[in-house]
């Protein structure tokens, strides 16, 4: 068990929350994207996290993103015949992004990020306290 394991576990949490924020912001940014490279409107994504060892001998696991999934949610059809992506009946398929949910997720990710940074801070302080034992 290395002194730095706690810091590394917190760092894995920071990286994970950063990814969660990235995905939430991509979902918000693409809330109105009606076309993608694979065709159809943008599909909102969400991240799946799982415990992951930070180093070979670590006593506790950190966290890692194992997958980014696109919950298959049907598009929201809006009548707008003048839109270039409108279908034969004049309906445009918009992604089913609930912006309020995404913002809530973003806030959760931001909170978790600062929580993990507090852990890293505490681990650092603990290491410095241990070093102080040897002083004088």
């Amino acid at each position: 068990m290395s002194v730095f394991d706690t810091i590394r576990i917190a760092a894995s949490g920071l990286t994970a929350q950063r990814l969660r924020m990235d995905v939430a912001s991509a979902n918000i940014a693409n809330a109105d994207s009606t076309r993608t490279a694979v065709g159809g409107p943008y599909q909102p994504e969400s991240v799946v996290f799982a415990p992951q060892a930070v180093s070979p001998g670590a006593s506790a696991p950190g966290v890692g993103a194992v997958a980014i999934v696109t919950p298959n949610r049907g598009p929201v059809r809006v009548y707008d015949p003048s839109h270039p992506d409108a279908d034969g009946q004049g309906f445009v398929s918009y992604p089913d992004v609930d912006v309020a949910t995404q913002v809530a997720d973003l806030m959760g990710a931001a909170r978790s990020y600062s929580l993990n940074s507090t852990v890293a801070q505490a681990a650092k302080q603990q290491a410095l306290d241990a070093l102080d034992l040897g002083r004088g």
Binding site: S2, F4, L14, T15, A120, G134
Partner: protein, 135 residues
Amino acid sequence: MAVIGPVPALGGLERIASAVGPGSIGGSTSTVDPPAGGGLGSPGAPGVTGAPGVNGSSAAGPGQGFLDTLGNAFGQLNQQLVGADASLADFAAGGSSDLHTVILQMQEASIGLKLGIQVRDRLLEAYQEIMRLQL
């Protein structure tokens, strides 16, 4: 940022021995005393041959010598510092690393360096303590 300064300076230090792991502190300090005691005991008669005796015992000691352990530890510290330096350079050049990864790596290197400095201080203290002994 503070970590970057010590990096070049550490090049020389590295040979002596520095970034000691967490367990090594207890191990190293406890190993400091026995060789010193042994060295002192043997040169009881001739002062000059005492030094070669100490050298011989540490070099031919069973398994790893104290200096080897210390050298490895300092090598590790140097790697930590070089790694922090590299990731900062990568970040500054627009690489893919996260800000917190760079910062935490620098913090780890900084703590490692502080630990190395403590070990060096203890070593110097022990050395000076022995040099002050009245024969």
